[in-house]
Amino acid sequence: MSTVTVEKPTDDGPVRRVITTQRNASDKRFRRVVTAGALSTFLVLALIASFLFYRGFEIFKEFGFGFLTTSTWDSGSGDSLEGASYGVAAMLVGSIIVATMAMIMALPFVIGTSLFLEYYIGKKLRTALVAILDLMAAIPSIIYGLWGYLVLMPNAAGWAESINKYFGWIPIFKVDVENFDASPFISALVLGLMIIPIASSVTREVYSRAPQDQISAAYALGGSRWGALKAVVLPFGKSGLIGGMLLGLGRALGETVAVLLTLNLVFEVKFQVLASAGGNVASLIASRFGEAGPFEVKALMAAGLVLFLLTLVVNFGASIIVSRTSKVSQ
C-alpha cells in the first residue's frame, strides 16, 4: 500500500539522458571508418583485376583472342614484342585437365570421409578426427610438392605404367614416349590429396544438416544405415557436395608450387594424362618469372588475369551453390 515516491533530480545531480534514435557523432564516425575498412576489401579485389588487365593490356591488344587459342610461348629477342609470340592454350587446357582429374580422384574419398565422420562414429572421436583433418588442410603446398616429387612419384610412375599397359587402348591413357614421371596424373594425385580436407569440410557440414526426422523415419521403416543415408542424406547433401567439390576445384586450378614441382611443363596441347608433359597456368607464371624480360612479364600478367577470372567464376559458383543449400535447410 505504500507509494513509491520518485525524487525529482536536483540541479546538481546527473543530467537526464535524452533518449533518441539518432546516432551520436562518435558513432557516426565509427560506422564510417568501419564501412570504409570493409569496402577496402572490395577495392583490393577490383585493384587486382584492373592492375593485371592494365599490365597485360598490351599483350591482349597484340594477340587478341589468339592469346587464349595458341600454345607457343616464345619471347623472340626479348626486348620488344617483335618476333615474340605468347599463348596460354596449352597451359589453360592443362590446368583444367589436372584440376578435373584431381577432383574426380578425390570425390569418393570426400564422400567417404564426410559420411564416416558424420554418421559412422561418435561425437568425441569426430571432434578429434575433424581437428586432424583441419591440420592436414594446413600442410603447405610446397611440402605436398616435395613429397609428391620425392616419395609419391617413384611409386606413382609404376602405377601409371600399369594403367598404360592394361588400359592403353583408351586414347587418354596412351603415351608416345615411355616416360611416366612428372605427368598430369601425378600432379592430379597430389592435388586430389590436397583438396580432400577442403571439400569434405564443406560437404560434412551440409550432410550434418540432413533432417533427423527423415533419417529416423527411414530407420523406423526397417531401413539399414546405408538405406537411410542413400534415401535421405545423399539426396539432401547433393548440392553441398557439388559446392564443396567446386571449392576444391577452384583451389586446384590456382595451386602453384605443388604442381610446379611435380609437372613437366610443355607448350603443346596434350590429352595424354600419363605422359610426362602437361600444362598449368599458375606454374607457368612461377617458373617463367625468374628469367622473364619486361614483355614476357606482361604476358605473365595477362596469364595471371586469365587464371584469376577462371578461379573467380568457379569459386563464385561454389559459394552460390553452398549458400543456397544452407538457406533451404534453415
Partner: protein, 351 residues
C-alpha cells in the same frame, strides 16, 4: 490389479530397442578381420600386389567380399549395408595413408638435417652441397617471422573490421562484402604475388615488405570469415543490455562485443597465420630469397622458410634435398604449433 491377471513371466520381459546400434561382440569384429587378413596375405604372396600398400589394397578388397558374405547370412539389405560400411570406412582411412606418409618422411628425413647450428647459422658462407653440419636456416626463420608479423599487422585489423562491419554495423553492403571476402579467399596465391609485383616490386625492388603485403591479401579472408563466425556467437542480449544502459554503438563494440569474442578472434588470427605461413608462390614474386641473415625488410630480398625449401629443392643434390626436408620439418612444426595455440584459444571462448 490388472497385473495379477497377466502371466508372471511377462513381468520379466525387457523391451527390445532394435533401433539402437548393438555393440558388436569381439568375435563378430575379429572373425572378418582375421579372414580378410589371411586372404590379403595370400594375395600379396601369390600375385603382383606387393609391399605395405599392396597389402592394404588387398585387405580392403577382401574385406569388402568378406563383409558381403557375412551380411548375406542375414539378408541382402544387411549385406549391402555391411559392404557400404566397409567402403565408407576405407574411403576415410585411405586418405590418411598419404598424410601419414607425408608426416613420417618430413620428420624422418628432416631430422638428419637438424642440429643446433641449423637454427643459428645462415647460408652465406655455406654452399647447398656442403656437409650437413654447416649452415642453417636462421635467416629463413627470421625472415618468415618478420614477413608474417608485417602481414598480420595489415590483415588482422582489416579482417576484424570487415567482420565487425558484417555483424555489428549490418550496413547496406553487408551482402556484397561477404561475397567479396568469399571470392578473395579463392584468389590464387600466385595471382596475389603478381599483383604486388605489379604495384610494388616493379617500382622499388624485391623486399620482405612486398612479401608481407602479398600474404596479407591471402590472410585477410580467413581472418574475416572466422571472425565473423565468432562475432555471431556473441549473444544479442549483451548488445541489448549495453544499449539499454545507454552505451553508444562504439562503446558496445569496443567494450562488450570484441572483449567477449577475444579468444575467438585470437583463433581467427592464428588460423589466418597458419594459412599463409607455408605460402611459396607469392614469395617467389615478391620477397624472393637471399642466403644472408638480414632484418632489413625493404630494398632487398628477404629469405623465408618456404623459399628456403624451394631453393634447396631446386638445387636438387642429396645434401640440398636433406636441407629441404629439414626446412619442411621446421615449417610444419611451426604451423602445427600455431594450430594448437588456435585450438587452445578457441576452447577458452566456448566457456
Amino acid at each position: 490389479m490388472s497385473n495379477s491377471v497377466l502371466p508372471t513371466t511377462l513381468h520379466n520381459v525387457k523391451p527390445e530397442k532394435p533401433w539402437i546400434n548393438r555393440r558388436q561382440s569381439l568375435q563378430e569384429v575379429a572373425r572378418p578381420v582375421a579372414i580378410a587378413t589371411a586372404v590379403a596375405t595370400a594375395i600379396v604372396l601369390l600375385t603382383g600386389l606387393a609391399g605395405p600398400l599392396g597389402f592394404y589394397v588387398a585387405f580392403v578388397l577382401s574385406f569388402i567380399v568378406v563383409s558381403f558374405v557375412d551380411g548375406m547370412r542375414h539378408d541382402k539389405v544387411k549385406a549391402i549395408d555391411k559392404v557400404m560400411t566397409t567402403l565408407v570406412t576405407a574411403g576415410f582411412a585411405s586418405a590418411f595413408i598419404p598424410w601419414a606418409s607425408i608426416l613420417l618422411t618430413v620428420f624422418k628425413r628432416g631430422a638428419s638435417a637438424i642440429y643446433f647450428g641449423f637454427f643459428t647459422n645462415d647460408m652465406s658462407i655455406t654452399a647447398a652441397d656442403d656437409e650437413l653440419g654447416m649452415g642453417g636456416l636462421s635467416h629463413a626463420l627470421v625472415g618468415s617471422l618478420l614477413i608474417l608479423l608485417m602481414a598480420s599487422l595489415v590483415a588482422i585489423p582489416f579482417g576484424i573490421i570487415t567482420a565487425v562491419y558484417i555483424t555489428e554495423i549490418k550496413g547496406r553492403f553487408s551482402g556484397v562484402v561477404r561475397v567479396v571476402v568469399q571470392s578473395m579467399s579463392g584468389v590464387p596465391s600466385v595471382v596475389a604475388g603478381l599483383f604486388i609485383y605489379a604495384i610494388v616490386v616493379s617500382r622499388f625492388s624485391f623486399s620482405g615488405l612486398a612479401g608481407a603485403l602479398a600474404l596479407a591479401i591471402l590472410m585477410l579472408p580467413t581472418v574475416a570469415r572466422t571472425s565473423e563466425e565468432v562475432l555471431k556467437l556473441v549473444p544479442e542480449d549483451l548488445r541489448s543490455s549495453a544499449y539499454a544502459l545507454g552505451a553508444s554503438q562504439t562503446a558496445t563494440t569496443f567494450r562488450i562485443v570484441l572483449p567477449t569474442a577475444r579468444s575467438g578472434l585470437i583463433t581467427a588470427s592464428m588460423l589466418g597465420l597458419a594459412r599463409v605461413a607455408g605460402e611459396t608462390a607469392p614469395l617467389i614474386l615478391t620477397a624472393y630469397y637471399t642466403a644472408i641473415y638480414s632484418l632489413k625488410v625493404t630494398g632487398q630480398p628477404l629469405a623465408s622458410l618456404p623459399m628456403y625449401i624451394f631453393q634447396n629443392f631446386s638445387t636438387g643434390t642429396d645434401t640440398a634435398l636433406t636441407r629441404a626436408w629439414g626446412g619442411a620439418a621446421v615449417l610444419l612444426s611451426f604451423i602445427f604449433i600455431l594450430f594448437i595455440f588456435a585450438r587452445i584459444a578457441g576452447r577458452g571462448s566456448r566457456k
